[in-house]
Symmetry: C2
Amino acid sequence: MGSRDEVTAPTRRPRRSGATIHDVADAAGVSTATVSRALRGLDRVSPQTRARVLEVARTLSYVPSPSAASLKSGKTSVVGVIVPFLTRWFFTTLIDGAESCLRQSGYHLLLFNIGSRGKARPQVLDQQLLAKRLDGLLVLSADLDPPEVAMLRDLELPVVTVGLDLRGCDRVGIDDVAAADTAMSHLLTLGHRRVGYIGGNPDHDVHMATAVDRWEGVRRAVQRYDVRVPRDHHVYGDWTVRGGMAAAGRLLDRTAPPTAIMAASDEMAIGVICEARRRGIRVPEQLSVVGIDDHELSFTHDLTTVRQDVPELGRTAAGLLLSGLSGQERRRRRQVVLPTELVVRGSTAAPHRRARSA
Amino acid sequence: MGSRDEVTAPTRRPRRSGATIHDVADAAGVSTATVSRALRGLDRVSPQTRARVLEVARTLSYVPSPSAASLKSGKTSVVGVIVPFLTRWFFTTLIDGAESCLRQSGYHLLLFNIGSRGKARPQVLDQQLLAKRLDGLLVLSADLDPPEVAMLRDLELPVVTVGLDLRGCDRVGIDDVAAADTAMSHLLTLGHRRVGYIGGNPDHDVHMATAVDRWEGVRRAVQRYDVRVPRDHHVYGDWTVRGGMAAAGRLLDRTAPPTAIMAASDEMAIGVICEARRRGIRVPEQLSVVGIDDHELSFTHDLTTVRQDVPELGRTAAGLLLSGLSGQERRRRRQVVLPTELVVRGSTAAPHRRARSA
DNA sequence: TTGTACGCGTTATCAT
DNA sequence: ATGATAACGCGTACAA
């Protein structure tokens, strides 16, 4: 009995990797070309043929080989996402927003965590590799060094950036100058005059542009109120809670400490609140604190902040990329600026009489 | 002058996608087979030939086409990562740990955010697609429904899970029962006898196994201390801060509210702290709070918790996957259990005299 | 040690 | 509307 199989199936080893387009073509009694056309929704296929092919493909649970398809077509249905950090709320929220959009359009996400500058980055980004694996690229607020920028430009792929400016690339972001201006103005309006600012170090930083722009916003606000941020009231943090604590410590050690501190990010602002608590300084009674971002957990510290809609930033970036992917011809570069909004919570208040007059 | 080019280069249009193996072979004066062997470090290539090929490949900045290579070899150098959430610290930290390991070994990460159960998940996971695009799979604490589990099993790929148990798959995690036992025992040791527990709902939950195990740990601890958690002191949260607040509210509304609350995650525990603050209940004087995880921001709320080393979980999972990828034959299934550690901070203390005697 | 030639599974061009 | 067939770029028997 068993011998029958051995005869009818000479060398047909069981193929575990699933059906091929040939199997579908045979089973449907058409050519592979027709199967391809039918499955991809192209025209020049009769409705009944298409229906039959679809049916057969379904029963064989046929899925085209991505390798073969992209070898021929040059398209991979994969977009890359470059981030400097994976463990920070801002980036994962961006990715989350972008991912849902891209997946709905049939794209997969390949993750590139390039880390801070100066780490083992050379190996991560490789022009050729990117070009051959990806249909498009999302660069999320990662500071790139000049060679990397050049590489991305030569890459002839649609590139969309979030939170940084890459010449020629579509871009989405917020107005960092305005956001910082809003935060600082809030403190000044409350009556604070001795204010401290914790920013990013524009020299050694991963978020160079953001650091520069937010400081510019601070500068404008204080100037409008005819106030100065003395040199020793402007310190650098590393955008983390711990960094915020350390920076706050330095500010609070001054002989005339500030009555209010603004941090360039919510994480650092939370650090300020922690350091204040550690020293027994009450917020907001003795120290007002404001940040920027509206981090997911900022409300747990009742932190006043300037909100940016991070999921929407991600979705918008994905949308721009998709429209670039759909093969439309190069229009001119697009830039989207999303609004920000002051969120007043309990970490800011008018300064104490005593502090104010000091 | 220009006419010379037209003659010598009949149809050679400029290929923007980079050099192919043929270009390298021509430039090095060898065959494509030799180039392939030389570049992939196989033997049967003379040292000088190899050196020449390497040099030429470098100057042409040649990179093999992943599509062509995987079409032929069946390997993609891509591993998939399945997560239920992208925006939660636990998952991104896992991914971060895994990513660094995998990248060092030349693998790329393809992200699958499958969301909570019951959402638009069917489209995300497709057996054939996964099989053809991936060399391996990391399943991070995502509850899969039975069809999905079956699909992954049929997938003949190395699969490693973190925080859940998939029959036959290598697995890494912590001892959730012990971790919960530790947390609850800490409260009981301090003298608390009226304790509340905020767990995950084992029925509608994304973290079914975790929910079940952590409750079991609680059960063992209270049993050992001859204490009961009355039915109305055991409530469900959704693992978020907001969910923790809501659940805490319910507990604190009881006629005899607990003097201590344990939450199955730090995020929910932070929610408890927030809700307590909202109601003017002081922590730890009037209410002790303990969580599990040691979330990145838990220290900002001075939260006592049971730490798990999440980055290490990710790295370990990646390591298991890599050893599965390297083609070694099936040994028996491996399970790694990483230790946990009680981290005592300021959110727990002995109960007030009055509350204790109540 | 090296080269030749075939096949991987698809898409695209042409002919019918 | 459909079919035959030539690439796509690489890996690898097998021949030399």
